[in-house]
């Protein structure tokens, strides 16, 4: 998130820039983990999976750094208006990124298990889900970097596509399991993977709402249509 470089106390601007840089770094790492965990599954590449699992620890560490920085800034600067919104949003965005990395790590672990079973056609459809999530994440990180509220709205609307894809995938898996009960173990893992990706989309939506709030000071209404009764838990 860019901050105008005109605080009378210059170190305050530095604090905000550091915070923004940390979020940017976390975002980049969360993206890499999402990509690697998907590739670990598609390419049956255990090294990529282990790499994703390892990288998640760095995201956790960054999340802790963001939290410490936010607490420190709140205590020392007592921020107001846009500064306050940017700082509170940073805390929430960091939490969402931590969750995204965590879901991806979980997917990497499941990939390691699935990869020990014979290859399945069903694995490939995960790519489409993951790509939508990757695009959402990439897009929202760009919107965050550029204070772009309009893009944030678009990204949030994309979550619906992901929900529909997930619902389709859910049915596909069910059909598969009914036809071949030996596939149940792998299919169950795939279902969790798909569900995790769908949750990643929700976290991207969450980030989008925070970017929008930080930039504009207004809350996006929660009137986004929910197409999928299967994921209607919220």
């Amino acid at each position: 998130m860019q901050t105008t470089n005109d605080h009378i106390v210059r170190s305050f601007t530095d604090d905000l820039n550091d915070l923004s840089a940390k979020i940017g770094k976390m975002g980049g790492q969360a993206e890499a983990i999402l990509v690697d965990s998907t590739q670990a599954l598609i390419k049956r590449d255990a090294d990529l999976g282990l790499q994703a699992i390892e990288a998640d620890r760095r995201v956790d560490a960054l999340d802790a750094e963001v939290e410490a920085a936010v607490v420190r800034i709140l205590a020392l600067r007592q921020p107001m208006a846009i500064d306050l919104r940017v700082i509170i949003s940073a805390l929430k965005i960091a939490q969402a990124l931590e969750r995204i990395a965590d879901h991806s790590k979980n997917n990497a672990k499941r990939a390691l298990v699935i990869n020990r079973a014979p290859p399945m056609e069903l694995v490939k459809s995960i790519v489409r889900l993951s790509e939508v999530a990757q695009n959402m994440l990439h897009g929202i990180l760009g919107a965050y970097a550029n204070n772009d509220a309009d893009t944030a709205i678009h990204i949030r609307d994309r979550d619906e596509d992901l929900d529909l894809l997930y619902e389709g995938y859910f049915r596909e898996c069910l059909t598969y399991m009914m036809e071949d009960s030996r596939s149940i173990t792998s299919c169950t893992h795939l279902l969790f993977i798909a569900k995790n990706i769908e949750r990643i989309g929700d976290h991207c939506t969450n980030i989008a709402e925070n970017v929008y709030y930080a930039v504009t000071g207004d809350r996006l209404g929660s009137a986004r249509p929910k197409a999928d009764p299967l994921s209607a838990e919220q």
Binding site: T4, D6, H7, Q78, M80, D83, L84, R85, G217
Partner: protein, 263 residues
């Protein structure tokens, strides 16, 4: 700012209606076309950079500008419908209804008791010594000072600490049962504990009075007030619900000021 927002207070909620107020010190204009509602049983805070006209505005409401040579006030200020700026109005009576607490505590060089009793006496608010004693006590209680001074009521008010003196001045303001209390940076000379006491007191006082407070502390404005008005170069730039002003101000100048940016 949308004009609608400035006027959107329900008539019953507004204690003071300020319309089109312009103030001049000689040739120099200090306030420009000020329109503002002061809510009943609410705290309104006035914020803005030094010299923007906050004290000038506060003084308009109880005609304290009258005593300043060359100061001219135009426009309309109504307290419960009564025009404050009418030439015919008695400033002494007005200042009973619209009390003021200044930045620097300014107790009279009299006893603690007499500081509080002075106003009720000259305004003839009580008829017996017992009533006066009671009024002094309740006023000091309201100002959260009674416990600290009840055993030395006849010692000089100037012998109290700064924070105690400020609460004494608040007790003095409250003693004449005003409708509106104006406070000009009442905590600027106080430590955090005394400041917290005064803020707690403001919270308490707003049940019975309408309060306008000038403060340079954004945090204080955010803590104590329901509405906040931002002044800049003699202009009322933005007024709104305090939470909105401090989380999402509409005007760039407000944002610049409260976030500590160059204007």
């Amino acid at each position: 700012m949308a004009d609608g927002e400035r006027f959107n207070m329900e008539a019953a909620e507004a204690k003071v209606l300020v319309r089109d107020v312009n103030v001049f010190y000689g040739e120099k204009q200090a306030l420009f076309d000020i329109d503002l509602d002061i809510g009943r049983n609410q705290v309104t805070s006035l914020i803005g950079p030094s010299g923007c006209g906050k004290s000038t505005f506060l003084r308009c409401m109880n005609r304290m500008n009258d005593v300043i040579d060359g100061c001219r006030v135009e426009g309309s200020i109504k307290v419960d419908g009564d025009e404050v700026l009418d030439a015919g109005i008695d400033p002494v009576q007005l200042r009973r209804r619209v009390g003021m607490v200044f930045q620097k505590p300014n107790p009279f060089p009299k006893s603690i008791y007499d500081n509080v009793a002075y106003g009720p006496r000259i305004h003839g608010l009580v008829s017996s010594q017992d009533d006066l004693d009671e009024l002094v006590q309740t006023s000091l209680e309201r100002a959260a000072l009674w416990e600290e001074v009840k055993d030395r009521l006849h010692q000089p008010g100037t012998g109290l600490s700064g924070g105690q003196q400020q609460r004494l001045c608040i007790a003095r303001a409250v003693a004449v049962r005003p409708d509106v209390i104006l406070m000009d940076e009442p905590c600027s000379a106080l430590d955090p504990i005394a400041t917290a006491r005064v803020e707690e007191l403001i919270e308490e006082l707003k049940k019975a009075y309408s309060i306008v407070i000038v403060t340079h502390s954004m945090q204080q404005a955010a803590r104590v007030s329901q509405r906040t008005a931002f002044f800049h170069l003699g202009v009322l730039v933005e007024v709104g619900v305090t939470e909105q002003i401090f989380t999402a101000p509409r005007d760039e100048r407000t944002q610049g000021y409260i976030t500590g940016r160059f204007g």
